[in-house]
C-alpha cells in the first residue's frame, strides 16, 4: 500500500507482475495532487520498461529509473495530468 509523505507517496509493488504493477501504480498516482512524486519499488524486470512508458503515455513525467539491487528497481514519477 502507498505510504504518504510531504514530498509524495511510496509504493511497494515487489512480488507483483504485469499488468498489476502498472494498475497499482496508476491507482496510486490518480489519488495524488498534481506535481506530487510517486516512488515505486519493484522487482518485476518487464515492468521496469513498461511502467515508465505507460506513465509517459498517460501524461506523467518519469524522473528516475534506478536499479537498487540484483533484482530491484526504483522508479520516480511526477504527476502531471489529472
Amino acid at each position: 500500500m502507498p505510504q504518504d509523505s510531504n514530498q509524495g507517496k511510496k509504493l511497494d509493488i515487489r512480488g507483483l507482475v504485469c499488468p498489476y504493477t502498472f494498475v497499482k501504480a496508476k491507482l496510486a498516482i490518480e489519488d495524488m495532487e498534481m506535481g506530487g512524486l510517486l516512488e515505486i519499488l519493484l522487482d518485476y524486470p518487464e515492468a521496469v520498461h513498461n511502467i515508465p512508458k505507460s506513465m509517459q503515455d498517460h501524461g506523467h513525467k518519469v524522473l528516475k529509473v534506478e536499479q537498487t539491487g540484483i533484482k530491484e528497481w526504483i522508479i520516480v514519477v511526477r504527476k502531471e495530468k489529472d
Partner: protein
Amino acid sequence: MEFTDAQIQRYSRHIILPEVGGKGQKKLLGAKVLLVGAGGLGCPVGYYLAAAGVGTIGLVDDDVVELSNLQRQIAHSTNTIGMPKVESAKRTFEALNPDVNVIAIKGRLNKNNIMGIIEDYDVVVDGSDNFPTRYLVNDACVLSRKPLVSGAILRFEGQVTTLIPHEGHCYRCLFEAPPPPGLVPSCQEAGVLGVLPGVIGALEATEALKLILGQGEPLKNALLIYNALSASFRKVKVPKNPKCPVCGENPTITELQDYDAGYCQLG
C-alpha cells in the same frame, strides 16, 4: 471506497485505460442503469454492464423465459425456461459479477408507474420490443430529463440512438408518433438473426458506459444503423425538432398518456 484486490484484478483492463482509470471504475460501481426489457437487447446490455461493474442494474420485464427466446436472449438458458426473465437474467448477471446488484422488477411499465421507477436511475436503456413502451419510455425520460439509450432490431437490421433530453433530439423528433398498429411487423412475425441483438445491445451498453464515464461523443442528434447482410454501419444526423410534441418549444405532450390503446400485447 478502496478497491479490493479482487476488484483490481477484475477491472484491471479498465483501470489501465486513461479514459476510465480507477476514478472511472468507481463511477461505474456507483452508477445505476435501468434496462427496459430483459429480452434480445436487455440480455447483452445487462451482461456487458454487469461485466463492466455497473453497480446497480434495474431490469423491467413481465415475460417468462420461453424456448424460442434462447436463439438470441443469451442471459437465459434451457434451465430457466418458465422462470421470469428478470429473475433468470438477475442470476446470470450476479453470477458473472457479485459487485453488481440487480433489481428485478417483474411487470410492465405504464404511465402510472414509470416515473417512480426511472427516478432512481442515472441512465435508462430501452430494449423493448413494442412501440407503446418505446414512446412511453421516451416521453418519461424527456419529462424527467433522464438520458436514454434506445435500440431496436428487426430481421437483419438494427439501430441505436442516445437521447439527452432538451440537449439533443428525442424519439419523437425522429418519429413523431407511433406507427398504426399492425403496420410494422414484430420480431415474432418477421424474425430476427440471433446475433443481431448482440451487436445492437453491445452498442447500447457502450453508449451507457460513455454517459456514465463522461467520455467520448454520445449518439446525440444521430441514429446509427447497422445492416448485418451488407456488414455496414450508417450514421444519420437527427436534428432536434423545435416543433417536437414532447421536447419542442411548445410541447403538446406535458404528461404521460395511455400508450397501449389499439395495440395487441405481442411479446
